[in-house]
């Protein structure tokens, strides 16, 4: 006969969910009422899930794609001051943008439960670094939770809100890419009905805390951290071994723990060795640390990406990233774990090694307007300097039209820095063309543009306006005037914003019209070099081809390659459209009709005019 627990499990609804969706659903179940985020892989689908599941919420729910992560954090923070549950969602480098309010929040605390979900990207797969949010939290003195699966990430949310409310602290949930983008059957629960009304209580000593108040707040923060470290629900979990490996233990957190469980199972080692899962890597309970020091001679510590647990344990018999027993960079894939485990337990080394290489590099989509813009920029200024930014258009590096990519919004200030440095040498200053996406421009480009104008940096700023946040799957952008859940709102147009920033040269052009686009680039260059000139802004405007509406709307003359083709490879090398490749057998270029969108932007690239619209055949 089935026991009661099994019967309940049968009734409980389960859904195959992506980790990010599980987190989104978890937020709704926990009664979150204000959710703010800026998109970034691997975190994006969390807010998208909250949007998709909006109707499942039982309390009013404000959802926003904020202009950047700092803003998202501050919006969620003030909502928490009113006593409601809120969340700010971002990727790991987004936390750098939100660092200022994040750090101060540790001291001042929150009222209603506040979570900051920060998705890390060990590898990295789609990021500019592999920084570890858990280490950030150690520095910021913020408790951080490290789920090992989508189901666990969801299960942590309600208790995390309770923890946040008990101690009036912001709590960080840190999933990694392999949790965010895994799918698993996840149990659904009924959303809680909190029925909270906003009730902000002014408290200048806290919400305005001047230096006079901060030592007290800091003291109280330290006291809270000591108590949180002792919270019974968040203690490391032990799977006891059979003592065949005495005084040896494995300590793991996050997805590395889950990978380790599978590996031990595969090797027939499950239950033979003490295995600790750390769900809250900071703050660690000092008693747990003492226990490990006292009861184990050797430890293998497996965590992504930095040695956060290892640093806190400071165990003399620890093997980990500090000692070099575990690689200090990259993901702890099952292959990497096997090597570390085999080494630690003196097992036979695995005979199969993973293949080298990552396969085909990503490239801009066929028909992508950015490719046309980059081609024209490179052609017009072969000696130019091309700072660029974070987004699909980073891939302009494949066309040699992107020279630097740093962090959100950096291209405009880097462009200005290049100009200032070259200008002081005298002589001809190279043309600096920076490329920045529309969403990135709003995120962190506007202050940089004002600064460039103010400091008279003579640069050309090309705003690649494809009317969406393309890289992360098409989130709304401020100049389209739509909210996260699809309502109309006021559109903030780019041109007036650029004009108000003090720019006198503002033009816009569809980069598909390559002749006009190149003409405008030359005019922009002249403006930057004229006596009363300054910063020039050219808006490259064409919708993202990922949007089916854009594909449907645009003229699509399919192209073909005639017998005139001399096989020089220029179209494949310099234009780098995935729909063009070399037919090695016949020594000519060919068009992959499965992938070609027929945009025709490759037509002017051929030096012998062998690429022609199909209708001309």
């Amino acid at each position: 006969m089935k026991n009661f627990y099994d019967a309940i499990k049968d009734i409980m609804k389960k859904e195959l969910m992506m980790g990010n969706d599980a987190i989104g659903r978890g937020l709704i179940e926990a009664g979150c009422q204000v959710a703010a985020a800026y998109p970034g892989t691997p975190s994006t689908e969390i807010l998208q899930s909250v949007i998709n599941r909006k109707d499942q919420a039982v309390s009013p729910l404000h959802i926003e794609w904020s202009v950047n992560e700092k803003i998202a954090f501050e919006v969620a923070l003030a909502a928490s001051y009113t006593g409601k549950r809120s969340v700010a969602v971002m990727k790991q480098v987004g936390l750098n943008v939100a660092a200022d309010p994040f750090m101060r929040t540790a001291y001042l605390g929150v009222k209603g439960g506040m979570l900051t979900v920060v998705a890390d990207d060990p590898g990295p797969h789609s990021s500019q670094n592999e920084q570890d949010t858990r280490l950030f939290c150690l520095q910021g003195r913020v408790p951080v939770l490290d789920p090992a699966s989508p189901a666990e990430a969801k299960a942590m949310i309600e208790p995390a809100y309770l923890l946040s409310e008990k101690y009036e602290m912001n709590i960080v949930l840190r999933p990694t890419t392999r949790v965010c983008h895994s799918r698993q059957s996840v149990a659904l629960a009924e959303p809680v009905q909190l029925e909270r009304s906003s009730a902000f209580e002014p408290n200048t000593g806290r919400w305005c805390a001047t230096p006079a108040f901060l030592p007290g707040l800091h003291r109280s923060l330290n006291a809270k951290l000591e108590q949180i470290a002792q919270e019974p629900d968040w203690q490391p979990r032990l799977k006891v071994g059979d003592n065949s490996q005495p005084r040896v233990a494995l300590v793991a957190s996050g997805i590395a723990y889950a990978n380790l469980v599978d590996l031990l199972d595969e090797l027939g080692l499950s239950g033979t060795i003490d295995l600790y899962q750390v769900q809250m890597p900071y703050p660690l309970n000092p008693e747990f640390i003492q226990h490990l020091h006292k009861d184990y001679e050797r430890l293998l510590i497996l965590e992504e990406t930095y040695p956060v647990i290892e640093l806190q344990l400071a165990h003399p018999g620890a093997s980990g990233k500090q000692t070099g027993a575990v690689p200090r960079e990259g993901e702890l894939t099952p292959d990497v774990l096997y090597q570390a485990l085999a080494d630690f337990l003196s097992l036979e080394m695995p005979k199969n090694l993973p293949a080298e290489g990552r396969g085909q590099r990503p490239s801009l989509c066929p028909g992508c307007p950015h490719r046309a813009a980059f081609y024209s920029i490179k052609k017009t200024f072969p000696e130019g300097i091309f700072p660029s930014d974070i987004g699909c258009y980073t891939l302009g590096m494949n066309l040699d039209a992107v020279h630097t990519v740093h962090c959100m919004g950096a291209c405009i200030s880097q462009g200005a820095g290049f100009h200032q440095s070259y200008k002081q040498d005298g002589g001809t200053v190279p043309t600096v063309v920076v490329t920045i996406g529309d969403s990135t421009f709003f995120h962190a480009g506007v202050p940089a543009l004002i600064n460039a104008v103010l400091q008279d940096a003579r640069i050309i700023v090309v705003i690649l306006d494809n009317t969406t946040t393309a890289m992360t799957g098409g989130q709304p952008v401020p100049h389209m005037g739509g909210t996260a859940d699809g309502r109309k709102t006021k559109a903030i147009a780019i041109e007036p914003l650029v004009k108000a920033s003090g720019v006198d040269f503002i033009e816009s052009c569809d980069p598909y019209q390559h002749e006009r686009f190149e003409e405008l680039l030359k005019k922009a260059d002249a403006h930057t070099r004229s006596e009363d000139g300054g910063v020039a802004v050219l808006i490259s405007r064409h919708g993202c081809l990922m949007d089916p509406a854009v594909r449907k709307m645009q003229e699509a003359p399919a192209v073909t390659i005639t017998e005139e083709c001399i096989g020089c490879g220029q179209c494949v090398e310099d234009f780098e459209c995935p729909a063009l490749s070399m037919d090695e057998e016949n020594g000519v270029a060919r068009v992959d009709t499965d992938r070609c969108h027929g945009c025709g932007t490759c037509i002017p690239v051929c030096p012998v005019q062998a690429i022609i619209p199909k209708e001309d055949v």
């Binding site: 892989t41 689908e45 698993q184 599978d262 993973p354 293949a355 290489g357």
Partner: protein, 166 residues
């Protein structure tokens, strides 16, 4: 029952959809399943890999030499992902060239049906007809009906059944 499956291709080929169909078939049968997927930058035409672990597992990633089944939508990925497959694993490839494994020109077939992306379901059909996967024809049909957008369901099923008949 335990089965480890990889689905390999390049961004835009429908690797994610194929992964979800197989995972749904497991869920509908009540077997635990874990998948991992590529998102973000890699989706822009680069090599993408999904892994599925069906049965009692804790994590979705697959170790070298442990996959029971490999479904390759892009034959050039063989060089990168072949090593994940067991020596005696089932290898199914969408390709119009001769070579290792069970091959079908899924893209060619799908192109004739009007959409090259349907090669993903042609390959699924071939895998099911070879009894390479834990799931049956009927289970796949149910999963496709659940996951495909309404107006594409019939076309998706047609691609799947064409693959079954090869």
């Amino acid at each position: 029952m335990k089965q480890q499956i990889i689905v390999s291709g390049i961004g835009g080929q429908g690797v994610l959809f194929l992964t979800r169909v197989i995972a749904q078939a497991a869920v509908d049968r009540g077997i635990p399943v874990l998948t991992s997927e590529s998102h973000g930058m890699a989706q822009r035409g680069g090599t993408v890999l999904s892994t599925l672990k069906v049965g009692d597992f804790a994590a979705p990633l697959i170790r070298t030499g442990q996959a029971d089944v490999a479904l390759l939508l892009w034959d050039a990925n063989l060089a990168v992902h072949r090593s994940l497959l067991k020596d005696d694993g089932a290898l199914l490839i969408n390709s119009d060239k001769e070579g290792e494994g069970d091959r079908v020109d899924g893209s060619g077939i799908a192109r004739e049906m009007g959409n090259a992306v349907l090669s993903n379901l042609v390959l699924l059909g071939l895998a099911v007809s070879k009894n390479a996967l834990f799931c049956s024809e009927e289970e796949c049909v149910v999963a496709i009906r659940k996951l495909a957008p309404a107006k594409f369901v019939e076309q998706n099923l047609q691609a799947f059944h064409t693959g079954m008949k090869i």
